[in-house]
């Protein structure tokens, strides 16, 4: 099981900022059996409580409803609209996060230390902020009377209560996950390798395409998936900034929240779809990536 191989996102890279250190790069050793460890039984017993706590509520969701119930509710307009909106908005968000996040992620490991720290903190901020804060901040910035919204409004563009607001809310809270993962990836690419290619006459763009990108594919993919997953679950910023309207701004988490107060069947069905989709996508990606790396 190499479940936790790719999200190397636990901390920012330090000392791998392209200052000549040979990065870990592609030195992953061929697969070996896991090392022996002592007291395996004790560790397993100690690991059980948290695993149980994490798994049982998800199991509970599935036990609480019957498949017939889920299928019956899956056809309801609320569920269909919410699923459709969630799929396309999170798709757009992920594409935007990758496109706009790539330059930021590429830049960060190359900056001087102090500036890098500042930028890393800026990128981390949306992750640690409560999403409701993000929602209020977006509203007073891009709302009709907001800092920038005033000008947009004058130009005839209103963002709040539209799917664009949903995407912006998701992008704000979720894009840092991609940037973080990708910058760790970029920071770990061996500088010597790139220098060698440059000596050989390769242009910067060619080096990026043929060396950096293949070497960081794992990090970029894992970052994109984390961003997608976070966007899919986004709730607080969306309900405040984008509002709640079926088919327009009511994503799955919003429909679950309002369904919890109105029609528990809808809430449970959407929860199950959300859990199942997330699980499937994560599993498939991990599978694909472990194949690609062997």
């Amino acid at each position: 099981m190499d479940l936790y191989r790719f999200p190397k996102t636990s901390s920012w890279p330090v000392g791998e900022s392209g200052n000549g250190e040979p990065g870990a790069g592609r030195r992953a050793a061929p697969r070996r059996p896991p090392p022996r460890y002592q007291g395996a039984g004790t560790w397993k017993a100690a690991a059980f409580p948290l695993l149980f706590f994490l798994i049982i509520p998800v199991v509970g969701l599935f036990l609480y409803t019957s498949p017939a119930d889920v299928i019956a509710h899956a056809g309801s307009p609320t569920v269909r609209k919410a699923v459709g909106l969630s799929i396309w908005t999170t798709g757009v968000t992920t594409v935007l996060a990758v496109a706009a996040g790539m330059p930021v992620a590429y830049l960060i490991p190359r900056l001087r230390r102090r500036l890098r720290r500042v930028l890393e903190t800026v990128i981390d901020l949306p992750v640690v902020l409560p999403p409701a804060v993000a929602g209020v901040a977006l509203l007073i910035t891009f709302g009709r009377r907001g800092l920038l919204g005033t000008y947009l409004n004058a130009a005839g563009i209103t963002i709040s209560f539209t799917p664009a607001a949903v995407v912006m809310a998701q992008l704000f809270v979720a894009s840092p996950f991609f940037v973080k993962a990708a910058s760790i990836g970029f920071g770990s690419v061996s500088r010597e390798l790139k220098e060698a290619a440059a000596l050989d006459g390769a242009s910067g763009m060619r080096i990026f395409r043929h060396i950096t990108l293949p070497l960081t594919a794992g990090a970029l993919t894992s970052g994109a998936i984390l961003t997608w997953a976070r966007a899919l679950g986004e709730f607080g910023a969306t309900i405040i900034f984008a509002g709640n309207f079926p088919g327009r701004t009511q994503t799955m988490p919003l429909a679950i929240y309002l369904g919890f107060e109105m029609d528990l069947g809808v809430a449970l069905t959407l929860s199950i779809i959300l859990v199942a989709t997330s699980f499937l996508v994560m599993s498939i990606t991990r599978l694909l990536m472990s194949h690609a790396e062997v």
Partner: protein
């Protein structure tokens, strides 16, 4: 796959939602319409009896509809002046959220709902006695616009102007349900055209999950108009919004029922609170926030 497993699963579901205890009601069973048929006067007598005599003290937790926020905070201050030994704590949220929380065992002493439906739901969960709820105030709807009135809304017919951005509450929220009743009345009485409801709903850009969220989006100028209680318009403060009245014949009269929770940890203090809200002093506080007091001999 036994009931044990199922109820264990249910417990964990509830647990993971951060709510205490359990309800064995299957999905959706709390959805019940209709009035509770509770006799107000009987409940009032019961309350009056239990509220009298003996010192009251301790803490009570009052689950309160969001539309009562300012009024109940003020009423709480007055109450505590007369009962310094009691501390009144409020949990403000949409009535539908509160009624779910109560059904799932949240430690409430009093439930003050913005409509009968959510009180009935709480009663059918078994935590409130059927004859406990008593109506303590009425409310009406108004249309509000931002102070600058960017949509140029000056009367009810303006709400059908194409392109207007209207924000109302979701159907699950009492004020959202009342809003639809008003729109229905306006269409069927043909005063504003038979298509009035559809036209207004077509201009609706968001279904907010409580009345204060509707108010905030209008105050911030995000929406051109919103439909809220007249008490919210009063609470928004001078100059924050413009108010367009809805005539009585199209309006609704929202009943606010309140009840002591059957398994309250502090029944004497909880009853004293209900008693106070129904007293002339309590009614005066509510009236000062725009609520319509209940008539004495109801």
């Amino acid at each position: 796959m036994s009931n044990v497993l199922k109820s264990a699963a249910a417990l964990f579901l509830i647990f993971s939602l951060g709510l205490a205890a359990c309800s064995n009601s299957p999905a959706g069973s709390v959805r019940q319409g209709g009035a509770s048929g509770a006799s107000g006067s009987k409940a009032m007598q019961a309350v009056a009896h239990s509220g009298q005599g003996g010192e009251i003290s301790g803490e009570i937790l009052v689950f309160t509809a969001a539309s009562l926020t300012a009024a109940f905070q003020a009423a709480g201050m007055v109450f505590q002046t007369n009962h310094p030994e009691v501390s009144v704590l409020f949990n403000f949220a949409g009535s539908q959220t509160l009624s779910r929380q109560i059904a799932q065992g949240a430690p409430a002493d009093v439930f003050a709902s913005a409509d009968r439906k959510q009180m009935t739901a709480a009663v059918s969960s078994g935590r409130i006695a059927a004859d406990a709820p008593v109506t303590f105030a009425h409310n009406r709807l108004v249309v509000i616009t931002p102070a600058s009135n960017p949509g140029h809304v000056s009367d009810l017919s303006d709400l059908t102007q194409p392109g207007l951005k209207i924000v109302i509450a979701a159907d699950a929220v009492p004020v959202g349900r009342y809003t639809r009743i008003f729109l229905e009345k306006a269409s069927s009485m043909n005063e504003l055209g038979p298509e009035y409801k559809n036209q207004v709903l077509a201009n609706t850009v968001s279904l907010e999950e409580n009345v204060k969220a509707v108010q905030s989006k209008v105050v911030l100028g995000e929406a051109d108009a919103g439909i809220v209680y007249r008490t919210d318009a009063a609470a928004a403060g001078d100059g924050a919004v413009q108010v367009i009245e809805i005539p009585d014949r199209l309006n609704i009269e929202a009943d606010y029922p309140m009840a002591v929770v059957a398994d309250s940890a502090n029944p004497p203090a909880a009853a004293a609170w209900v008693d106070f809200v129904l007293s002339p002093a309590g009614q005066k506080v509510l009236a000062s926030y725009g609520f319509i007091p209940v008539s004495k001999d109801q």
